[in-house]
Subunit: 173 residues, 2 copies
């Protein structure tokens, strides 16, 4: 009765259909994300939610790259992406396209995710694994979002936290 | 005005405080998860939400392990865990402790996450990266949960999808 679905039964769209499909009005801006595994994982999540685009900034790796594809598993073919030498330029481009700029960070004024009423379209800035989102970048953001945490560690993995936020935005779209 | 919080300003609890703190009534059951990076990442997320325990089954790696700790970053010290030679035994233990058994999988009868009204306490079964949750294991579950997907790829990364479900359960606790 609870039969696992075969790959063809999942009825996923093709890369061509994806390119023409309506997108979720969300851009992910990767502010110097170091790990290619994280970048690949973010591509895979972005594909599933059909986000508008990923902006890869600074030291963030870009496709094609073997390590990146280990976790992207081909999602670099479907999701739109663009490289910027720095995060400032990526934010300026998103602002020009009328996106509201949110960042995921823990600051003195960050708002807990569960209370966020998203104003689309949104560009979500995700920070470096060690340093988070740059202070100078935070100044350019309309809203800083924080995920509540109750444990001993200081932060979530960036691809994990991004997925939580994207799910929350999807539910409140 | 939006000042990034320093590590000490995050006011995280210590491992000793964690051990004595109230837990979120959720066990993660890892059904033959192959990647140590995924296991470590699940520990880190489990720590943040203070889940009851992680049950590591079959080929799933156990702490201490260098590769696992690359992504767990010490969360194996705080989160309770237990090893089972097979997933069946882990589920029997959780059932004995009165946990409702949910699995994350795409089946003919899976319910979309956004409609799930969770009945706590919950043990959430997470499957192998390639094969998902075993059919024989699915038969033992009270509910099969699916995350909607709109892209070209067939599934989420397991640590990413687990985080989305845990967040949803946390919001609906």
């Amino acid at each position: 009765m609870n039969q696992k679905l075969k790959l063809e039964e999942l009825n996923r769209i093709s890369v061509d259909e994806y390119k023409n499909a309506d997108k979720f009005p969300l851009i992910l801006i990767l502010d110097n994300v170091r790990s290619l595994h994280n970048v690949g994982s973010l591509f895979r999540t972005a594909d599933a939610f059909r986000v508008d685009a990923i902006y890869l900034c600074g030291i963030t790796g870009t496709p094609p790259h073997k390590e990146l594809n280990k976790t992207a598993l081909g999602a670099t073919e479907s999701v739109n992406w663009k490289y910027f030498t720095n995060t400032f330029e990526a934010i300026m481009e998103a602002k020009k396209l009328s996106y509201n700029i949110y960042a995921l960070e823990q600051t003195s004024n960050s708002e807990m995710l569960q209370y966020i009423k998203p104003q689309f379209p949104i560009a979500l800035v995700l920070g470096n694994e060690v340093n988070g989102v740059e202070e100078s970048v935070l100044k350019l953001c309309d809203k800083i979002v924080e995920i509540p945490q109750f444990g001993t560690k200081h932060s979530f993995n960036v691809s994990v936290s991004a997925a939580i936020v994207i799910w929350h935005l999807y539910l409140n779209r």
